[in-house]
């Protein structure tokens, strides 16, 4: 058992820290979830990509540094400690890119990844539908075979980033005769500005139009934009959840930085006699460490050739519940002063409330934990 970084990892850390110190904007960018903020965050992605910091784990030919998961974790610790901007390309980098590495073609990787890394093409997800949320396999949007490709029809919803993004990826029903709901699905990429696509932004609880409904009416997708074999969409989509995605959706660095800010707030604001609040701040400190160490252990397992699989559900429930508790503690430290919506803790608090819902609700994650990690029998949901 070992908790030390290699000299090479420490050099990498120093290089990342130096770059971030020189480049992180001194004033926070406008909110990512607005048109202006979206544009500013694209520019930030381009700056990261210019010096190969956008997707460090990718091969060099796509703009990465070909480093392993441990280096990525080090980079993330530095990134969030530096107060760097949120990542507008996160959906593409943490969901689509791993899928392309596992199931895409070389042509697709070469075409899709570099502009993704530069923020030129920002990707949205197209999974949920009005009648297919947690029960994603109930989805009904169709992909119908046509000359040289597919025609997409139907409705997708809760499509993160879609209000301002360029392209989207998701699964569609290509064989309605398939015997089971998760069969006959195909994984496709499509252009949000293609003829037949209507994007209707949806206001969120935080008032920002950051996700959207997508109405698709005979949208043409060339064969070159099908990922993997037609009909294998479910397996391809699920495989991404079992490997790095479970680790890379929310890096520990983000929470270590947030816990540090919380401790600073506590030192500045708290009544020392209020040990109930002190205890919650201590729990936030311990929780960030627990998440960091859990992730390092997972990374060691992956490095040794292991699979994460359902373990990523533990990870997701933990960080999403942790994130809310941390922000609620900050709001309690501020008391009634916390209310303004653009406050440094109010805005991320509202965002944290969505965590137990998106990326697979925590109820679904707990079913997965119980059935696949503990071996409990399947039952009615």
């Amino acid at each position: 058992m070992d908790l030390t970084h290699t000299p090479e990892q420490e050099e990498f850390r120093a290089a990342a820290r130096a770059w971030l110190r020189a480049h992180v904007p001194p004033v926070p960018l406008p909110s990512l979830e607005t048109a202006d903020g979206f544009a500013a965050h694209r520019e930030w992605e381009a700056r990261l990509a210019a010096d190969r910091w956008s997707a460090v784990s990718w091969p060099e030919r796509y703009g990465g540094r070909a480093v392993d998961l441990a280096h990525w974790l080090v980079f993330e610790e530095e990134y969030w400690a530096a107060g760097a901007p949120g990542r507008v390309s996160q959906n593409g980098i943490s969901l689509l890119a791993p899928t392309l590495f596992d199931h895409g073609t070389e042509e697709q990787r070469a075409r899709v990844l570099p502009p993704m890394a530069r923020g030129e093409v920002v990707w949205a997800q197209a999974w949920s539908e009005p009648e297919a949320g947690s029960d994603l396999a109930a989805l009904r949007s169709r992909a119908v075979r046509t000359d040289g490709g597919w025609l997409l029809s139907g409705q997708k919803t809760w499509s993160s980033r879609a209000a301002f993004a360029d392209r989207a990826f998701g699964i569609f029903r290509s064989d309605p005769e398939a015997p089971k709901p998760h069969q006959g699905l195909t994984y496709l990429m499509f252009d949000l500005r293609a003829p037949g696509v209507t994007v209707r932004p949806i206001g969120r609880l935080d008032g920002k139009p950051a996700f959207a409904e997508l109405f698709l009416d005979g949208v043409f997708v060339p064969d070159a934009d099908v990922i993997g074999e037609p009909g294998q969409g479910w397996r391809i989509a699920m495989s991404a959840t079992g490997n790095e995605r479970g680790l890379t959706l929310r890096s520990p660095g983000r929470f270590l930085a947030a816990a540090d800010r919380l401790v600073a707030l506590w030192r500045e604001r708290a009544d020392p006699a209020d040990t109930a609040l002190r205890d919650r701040v201590a729990d936030a400190v311990v929780g960030a460490q627990a998440y960091r160490l859990f992730t390092w252990a997972s990374a060691a397992r992956v490095a040794a050739g292991g699979e994460l699989g359902a373990e990523s559900s533990l990870n997701k429930v933990f960080w999403s519940e942790y994130d809310i508790a941390l922000h609620e503690t900050a709001l309690d430290l501020l008391g009634a002063e916390a209310e303004p919506a653009d406050g440094p803790w109010a805005e991320p608090w509202v965002f944290s409330l969505a965590g137990p819902v998106y990326a697979g609700t925590n109820e679904i994650q707990r079913d997965i934990i119980a059935e696949r990690l503990l071996g409990l029998p399947k039952g009615r949901r």
């Binding site: 070992d2 441990a70 627990a290 533990l314 429930v317 933990f318 009615r380």
Partner: protein
């Protein structure tokens, strides 16, 4: 960084698990609770053969240590099997005597450590801030007491046990007086180090107790049927168990990290998380077993009763939080 148990550490855990699985530990626990130490001592003799008692003792006093990672691995297995006795206290006493020797006071180390390393004598220990009772003082050959004035005494035997909520933990008030072994700053520093070890090893024990409670409960809800289905197929049951697993799985790396780097903050974080996790796991285990879980007869009780005392021994959650975040 390879933040997982090494092959050697995993093999050590498996060998202890196998030894204890074959050793009828529940019978020894029940005998220990009645004040019959015979089966417990027979168990310790087997554990001594693995070198377990030597892990907290420096090599120059016939030990193998100090090896906090191996000790944490071992105490996780002791918890998994609900092994009784003042084993945390004996290991912490060994650390205390070793630390005193390192500070130049080596008389007590020479006198006591070889037998502690061999497992032929048991010791118990009380420290300022470490809880008021001398655990299993009637089974210990030596009772070490550090006073608030930084005096280390070899305390006399005596007194009747107080009944604990875990009858396998026999509690005694430390007897005043006895033989003064050392005093002053070296005792204070050695006691602080011993206290960290006691806290770390209790956290490791909590982890093992929690894992055992969870495994038994999962096995039970897979078998137990109501409304025509295993109760483990119901979502209310599944989700409670999922949350319980979450607590245990996120405490584990904190315990490992504290063993690798046993500083005060690391050890406090580990004890806080493992202590809270084991008590939550006990509540889950009791609830999901239903009435049968509330019986003395079912062996589950041997683990259930440990959870709360271990959560609070050698550092309550509140004390640990205060260490994590000093004012």
């Amino acid at each position: 960084m390879h933040f997982l148990p090494s092959d050697e550490e995993s093999a050590f855990a498996r060998s202890l698990d196998a030894l204890l699985s074959a050793a009828a530990v529940p019978d020894a626990v029940r005998a220990w609770s009645r004040g019959d130490h015979g089966p417990g001592r027979a168990l310790f003799a087997k554990l001594a053969d693995t070198g377990m008692f030597a892990l907290a003792v420096p090599e120059r006093y016939e030990g193998l240590g100090p090896l906090p990672v191996a000790a944490a691995v071992a105490f996780t297995e002791l918890g998994r099997h609900a092994v009784p006795g003042p084993l945390v206290e004996g290991a912490a006493a060994s650390v205390l005597l070793g630390a005193l020797a390192a500070a130049g006071v080596d008389g007590p180390a020479k006198r006591f450590l070889p037998e502690l390393a061999a497992g032929t004598a048991l010791a118990t220990l009380t420290l300022p801030g470490g809880g008021p009772y001398a655990l299993d003082a009637d089974a210990a050959a030596w009772r070490f007491t550090v006073t608030a004035r930084d005096e280390l005494y070899l305390s006399p035997a005596g007194g009747a046990p107080l009944a604990s909520t875990d009858p396998a933990r026999r509690l005694f008030w430390p007897e005043p007086g006895g033989e003064l072994l050392a005093a002053g700053a070296p005792v204070a520093a050695a006691a602080a180090e011993a206290g960290r070890w006691a806290r770390l090893l209790t956290a490791a024990q909590c982890l093992g107790v929690g894992e055992a409670l969870l495994a038994r409960t999962v096995a039970y809800v897979r078998e137990r049927r109501q409304f025509g289905a295993p109760v483990g197929s119901f979502q209310a049951v599944k989700h409670r168990l999922a949350d319980t697993l979450l607590g245990v799985e996120f405490a584990r790396p904190l315990v490992w990290a504290a063993a690798v780097s046993p500083g005060a903050a690391e050890v406090a974080a580990a004890k806080l998380s493992a202590g809270e996790a084991v008590y939550r796991t006990a509540r889950t285990a009791l609830q999901l077993h239903g009435a049968i879980g509330y019986t003395d007869e079912l062996d589950l009780s041997l683990w259930l009763r440990k959870a709360r005392p271990l959560r609070d021994a050698w550092g309550t959650p509140s004390a640990c939080r205060a260490t994590v975040l000093p004012a």
